[in-house]
Amino acid sequence: MDQSVKTSAAKTSAAKSHADRIQHVTSASGVEAWLVEDYTVPIITVEGLIEGGASQDPSGKPGVLNLLMGLLDEGAGPYDATAFQERLDDYAIEMSFGADRDHASLHLRSLARHKDEAFAMLGLALNKALLDAPSIERVRAQIMAGLRHESSDPDVMAQRRFFAEAFAGHPYAQSAKGTLQSVPEITRDDLLAMQAHLFTRQHLHLVVVGAIDADDLARMLDDVFGAWPVQAALRPVPTFVDVPRNKQVVIDFDVPQSSIRFGARGLARTDPDFITATVVNHILGGGVFSSRLFREVREKRGLAYSVYSHLAPFAHGPLYVGGTSTKNERVGESLSIIAAEILSLATDGPNDEELNTSKNFLIGSHALRLDTSSKLAGQLVHIKAHALGRDYLDRRNAMIEVITLQDAARVAKRLYGDGQMLSVIVGRPEGL
């Protein structure tokens, strides 16, 4: 729009190289990690991903990986659950583990002066977790309580059903947390088998940011991961072919406002059009105060507080997904407006101003996604896992800058097709 904007975009993309700041550290036994060494704040942040994720849960028994990850900090080595947690607190160590459809994840944060204890505790959790019967039952009960609570949360109900419909017959159909039926069935042997199956170096990605040097890190990588098998034998996950389009599911639920999910097949993270799709999605429903959906659904008509869309690039079945919540009486109206916006974007593409605004936003806001150690480590570990390259952060803005109106129109067409989609509505909707 105005001159200062163009200058800023150019300036940001010419900023100093991220690749130069990333050291590729390899330990004596061959464990690899990226390191961004920075002593400004004496903290060390570690982010790790293990590919495979809950899609490796045994068939018909979702929730195994999630339960395993929930148990890693419930006692390990010489420490029972309470002693382990007390030791983390004694040294102010933050440690957490997670599971989603494609990844197991680990997060560690420590004051620099406690790094030895922090890595030692991480090693215990990953290699010597007790997985004792009382802890298994305790964490199982917590997961069950969470699942029961979510089973009557209209937004979660809509989300779950959307994935169940979108991925019918595929491992992705179920939540990584498992179900009220599957979680009680999980045995200790299932957990041990999952640990042996997934905890290998082949699909491990690690990023460390903060006050530690390469030599120290290499030593600690060996201590924690050195004994892991080099090769993995993941079960192949079928690539999902397509999400049902033109399907609408209504779950009757007695609430004044309906929760809605909509979407269809998206683009893979490694698809050459992915970055253009990110721009197109931003135009549709990505911006907080500026997307088409925000303007049409919220600002002009007051139909909803929240309305959004995002790309969900699952490894074996990428989606685009959107959501909103609107009072029952106006569900039909809201869905028609959303469908019309999607169709218009697919048919006519964005206009020049929308494209420029979105490109400028995505370029300019890049630095905001990297301004804490945790954010930087979190971004880098996904870049590493997707093999986008150490220089990806340096190339990203230039890739956005060259996107033309024709590119955006073509990718909008590819993404949204004829505008047909799957939608799930939980509530007492009217006007459908």
């Binding site: 300036k11 004051l111 069950m144 029961r148 007695d254 007051g302």
Partner: protein, 432 residues
């Protein structure tokens, strides 16, 4: 290179505080790791300052502040932030309302120009006010009216604060939001949106002199109102008697129990008392190493989850809450009894040095970790000043926590006075 540890009890960043002639307070927190600036303006008015019968107006006005001024009509500010790749949002609490943008540092001046413009220049017309009121009603339906746990939460707060406005939800009561309009919003705006009622916080890759010069050119041009709002809220009387509220709803799949107590805040407490309550809550409910978790979840297995929180940073008397999610087959009455017994056990057993030190280490580390995030730092100082604290008190907080003794922690138990508490029972309505 080796890491240099900062004094664990002090902040690394040199935080500075200034006051402009018109009364605007300015806090500057340099952080040069990333070329980004966080710009926040805090107003010393929140939902507890809503005029009688107009609950929700502080929050409604927060929404309306995005509707444009004479100089920058609706959408212009947000469009600019988007163009520049910035992030923006706003939030309303019981005691304050705040607006922020995060941008590349070279755009800080523009943000200050537009934010200072909307401190006095807001233009409101029915055409934008009425749809926005619908948005707020949808927000309320989304957050509260579809969620029995949130509905019980409102009833409990209203019972605990029978007289003080903290008993009214920030978003307001449905029937009062429906009555809010343009006139009410403008009257409220003129009363509170003045430089002498505001605090400017800038964090990030900035120099103090530069920020002060920009502040002078923008906010400095606004005249002081000359009648700085004085907060005089009706204070809570001493109400004897336990209150118990039961909400049974067909949608509740996971029952839970909670209890709230009226306690002093950082602002109302005698020296050291708020810090002692903070340490007490860390000892009792600090995650998986907390006393309640160890006794009720690990040892007795009566609950799958327990916890609690203390909201220290409020202007007036505040709230402390403990909760429990019972194990299957354990009634809410049984878990309530077990919680009371466990608290009594704790009072009898006292507190050893190791436990005390562990709790303090964790609390102090949390404040230290906040330094990794310029937004977290800006929020920490902004919220403190907005409730009437000084910069030095925030800086001294870790040392004040460190000074808490075991005797003070045990003395703080007196605030958990069951005879004046409010208990909540959330359960499934089996008849429905």
């Amino acid at each position: 290179m080796s890491g240099v540890d900062h004094d664990p009890l002090s902040f690394g960043a040199p935080v500075s505080h200034h006051v402009l002639e018109n009364g605007l307070e300015v806090v500057i927190i340099p952080d040069h790791r990333s070329p980004v600036a966080t710009h926040m303006v805090w107003y010393r008015n929140g939902s507890a300052d809503d005029p009688q019968g107009q609950s929700g107006i502080a929050h409604f006005l927060e929404h309306l502040m995005f509707k444009g001024t004479e100089k920058h009509p609706q959408g212009a500010f947000s469009d600019l932030v988007t163009e520049l790749g910035g992030e923006e949002n706003a939030f309303t609490s019981m005691d304050y309302t705040a607006y922020y943008q995060r941008v590349a540092k070279e755009h800080l001046g523009r943000m200050m120009e537009l934010e200072s413009d909307r401190m006095q220049g807001l233009v409101l017309e029915d055409a934008v006010v009425l749809p926005e009121r619908d948005v707020v009603l949808e927000e309320r339906r989304m957050r509260t009216d579809s969620d029995p746990a949130a509905q019980l939460g409102e009833s409990l707060a209203a019972a605990l604060f029978a007289h003080h406005p903290y008993g009214t939800p920030i978003i307001g009561w449905m029937h009062e939001i429906e009555g809010l309009g343009r006139e009410e919003a403008l009257a409220y705006y003129r009363r509170f949106y003045t430089p002498d009622n505001a605090i400017l916080v800038v964090a990030g890759d900035v120099e103090v002199e530069e920020v002060l010069a920009l502040a002078q050119q923008t906010y400095g041009q606004i005249k002081a109102s000359g009648h700085k709002p004085v907060r005089k809220r009706p204070q809570e009387p001493v109400l004897r008697g336990q209150k118990r509220i039961t909400l049974a709803d067909a949608k509740v799949e996971q029952p839970s129990w909670q209890r709230s107590y009226l306690v002093p805040s950082l602002r109302t407490a005698e020296k050291g008392v708020s810090e002692a309550i903070e340490v007490l809550m860390q000892v009792l409910a600090g995650g998986q190493s907390g006393y309640l978790h160890r006794k009720l979840v690990v040892e007795q297995q009566k609950a799958v989850a327990v916890g609690g929180w203390y909201h220290a940073t409020t202007c007036d008397q505040t709230r402390l809450l403990v909760y429990a999610v019972p194990s299957e087959g354990v009634s809410l009455e049984a878990i309530e009894k077990a919680m009371e017994d466990t608290l009594a056990d704790f009072a009898r057993e006292g507190l050893d040095d190791k436990t005390l030190t562990r709790a303090k280490t964790r609390l102090i580390a949390d404040a230290f970790y906040a330094q990794d995030s310029q937004t977290a730092m800006a929020r920490m100082f902004g919220s403190a000043l907005a409730i009437g604290a000084q910069v030095q008190e925030v800086l001294d907080w870790p040392a004040a926590i460190d000074a808490v003794t075991a005797e003070q922690v045990l003395a703080a138990l007196k605030w958990l006075d069951h005879s004046k508490s409010v208990s909540g029972f959330l359960l499934k309505d089996e008849a429905a």
